[in-house]
């Protein structure tokens, strides 16, 4: 597809604000640093073209919410030489985030960030913008996830569903890992053709964001970006949750097991042969 000047580029940033992230617990300033960087990054995206659009979603420990745009409008006047719209973004994001943090219940114990759900919300929003665009316009959208959380295996199915939905809708998913390396999200970037970056250090986070994630999909081909590392697509068995090379798959529900079992633990199917069927016909190489 050739890029066209009239195309609208929508960027949805998902910012993990869960206070149980290790980097935040270690250093309270890390949060402020990230928010500032994300706001500046979002504004730089808006600066590229007048028709570019931005949305910011916060993934908090208790709830996922839109920080920008919001239904109620904030009235802003310029206070300095900053472009009015950029001021609006900055003010709205910070204002909404403060509201969100203040209203959130106190965290009792560290809990996971429901990032997969946040991605699904972003996809629903993108689908709506896509429906409402005026005739003849084309929308290219992407999602950037900025997180320092660990990923949690319990969200595996949701992750896979949203990745394939994104792939189908032509939405690119980019991931900026602040702390741990995230293999599941890396799979998502690989499936949707996005960029995955694990930050070496938190300092200069804005510069990293601008370098790797600012160019849109078409421009990335024209620039030299960090090469994608090989993604590990091995499956984990359902019984022990270990990565396996060779496994046994239930023909009814596709559950994966590392050993032969007489009954499928997921769908309760009783398997007929205790020995697994090996594909009998063996083709010879001509």
């Amino acid at each position: 597809m050739e890029s066209n000047e009239a195309d609208i580029s929508l960027l949805v940033v998902i910012l993990d604000t869960n206070p149980s992230q290790k980097i935040i617990r270690k250093n309270a300033h890390a949060m402020t640093q990230c928010i500032d960087a994300v706001v500046a990054f979002g504004n730089t995206h808006l600066m590229q073209k007048s028709q570019n659009k931005l949305a910011v979603i916060a993934c908090h420990h208790s709830v996922t919410e839109f920080l920008y745009p919001t239904a109620g409008k904030l009235e802003v006047r310029q206070v300095d030489g900053q472009y009015e719209i950029f001021t609006l973004v900055e003010k709205t994001v910070k204002h909404r985030l403060a509201e969100l943090i203040n209203s959130a219940p106190r965290i009792v114990q560290p809990c996971e960030s429901l990032l997969a759900g946040s991605i699904s919300m972003a996809l629903a929003y993108i689908a709506r913008v896509n429906r409402n665009k005026s005739v003849g316009m084309r929308l290219s959208s992407r999602i950037l996830i900025v997180t320092g959380s660990n990923e949690c295996a319990s969200q595996y199915m949701t992750y896979m569903n949203v990745f394939f939905t994104a792939q189908k809708q032509g939405v690119t998913i980019d991931v900026c890992a602040l702390d741990k390396s995230l293999s599941l999200l890396q799979q998502g970037t690989d499936i949707t053709g996005g960029q995955y970056l694990k930050l070496p250090q938190l300092d200069g986070v804005l510069q990293y964001l601008l370098w790797v994630f600012l160019p849109d999909h078409q421009t990335r081909d024209k620039l030299v970006l960090p090469p994608a590392s090989k993604v590990d697509y091995r499956a984990a068995c359902f019984c022990h949750r270990e990565l396996i090379d060779i496994g046994y798959v239930c023909s009814v529900c596709l559950s994966i097991f590392c050993k032969i079992t007489p009954i499928c633990g997921t769908c309760q199917t009783v398997f007929k042969n205790s020995a697994p069927i090996r594909e009998k016909k063996k083709r010879t190489i001509k």
Partner: protein, 415 residues
Amino acid sequence: MADDPDHDGIDDPKEYRWETGYERTWESIKEDEDGMIDAAIAELIQKAKRKRQHDKTAQNRLGMMRHVFLIVDCTENMNTSDLKPSRLFCTVKLLEMFIQEFFDQNPISQMGIIALKGKRAEKLTELTGTSKKHIQVVQELTKLNPSGEPSLQNGLDMALKALKVLPTHASREILVIMGSLTTCDPVDINATVESLKTEGIRTSIISLSAEIRICRYITSETNGNFGAVLDDSHFKDQLMAHIDPPQAAQTQENSLIKMGFPHPRAEEGKGPILSMCMCHIDNKDDPSKLSSAGFHCPQCLSKYCELPVECLSCGLTLVSAPHLARSYHHLFPVKQFREVLFNGQSDKCYACQKVFTAEADKHVYFCEMCEQFYCCDCDLFVHDTMHTCVGCNTLPGVQKRIALKVSGGQGGFGI
């Protein structure tokens, strides 16, 4: 559609359209205050969309591993231009879409194509799991000059021969697209039908002209669907109905299938090893290149360019985990939302943030799991495309609640 219980079976009283009640379609369209009917039409479309969705019910036992033979009629009757521009062109166009979508939704399934040309059956592709070759072959059908009469039996026999040898844990199916009203067979076709039945091969037929007794008979004997198309969009609906995996047949044997999950072989400190792939080794036009990329079979270390594939040397099925995950949504569909009249329950749609207004949103949709409200578009998006409820996955605790509710024996899913 054929999924509808009312339309299944030969001796159904309301089998034909002209036997059903007189539909006063115009009466369901009401003008609003301004004399416009846009709103009414939008509502009708919405209802139709939701109905389709409702037909899908949660089934836990599906034939996820499918071996399907597609039999396409390529004889004189396909020249008829009741479907635009001609039956053959229209079929080819829809099949391209069908094949793409089929492999998208049934990642570990295989498909083969047979063409019926002048009383003979010709196997265009063997059973394979990649869409590229099938689409290429189907596109070449347009160059054909269809002539003669088809032989349904020859086609079915050929498919039967190929499917018979396959292990029974897979769902084995035949889908016929028939343009002709007649079939010219060498011997009694009932014998073929009988063996299809004993083998448990599901045979479905889509007729482009009219309902044919023998076709209806074959499908009802083998548990398949029969459909005669009204127009191209109806044809598309009929075809797309075959994308979702069918319910597992009773006769189907369940078993564990051994599979390999290749992963990049890079050792610490060393670059990946250069090697040649197995898939292009016989291909003279596009010979295999020496490279470090590719997937290695964990059993015999042969290399392949893409997944899923069956290892040529040791016969192991090689897949990647996301391939399997792609079909999980068939097994764990999102629970239907409840349609409720809008009276200010929520100010905006939980998923897409659309602000509800009394004029535009007469109904809103309520998920009983996460207790959030959604707009109609998101309802469709969640169930048709994403297969993931937004609220259930963004609000902590809901997942646990769901797990408790359905814990009737189901284990956890995930890595």
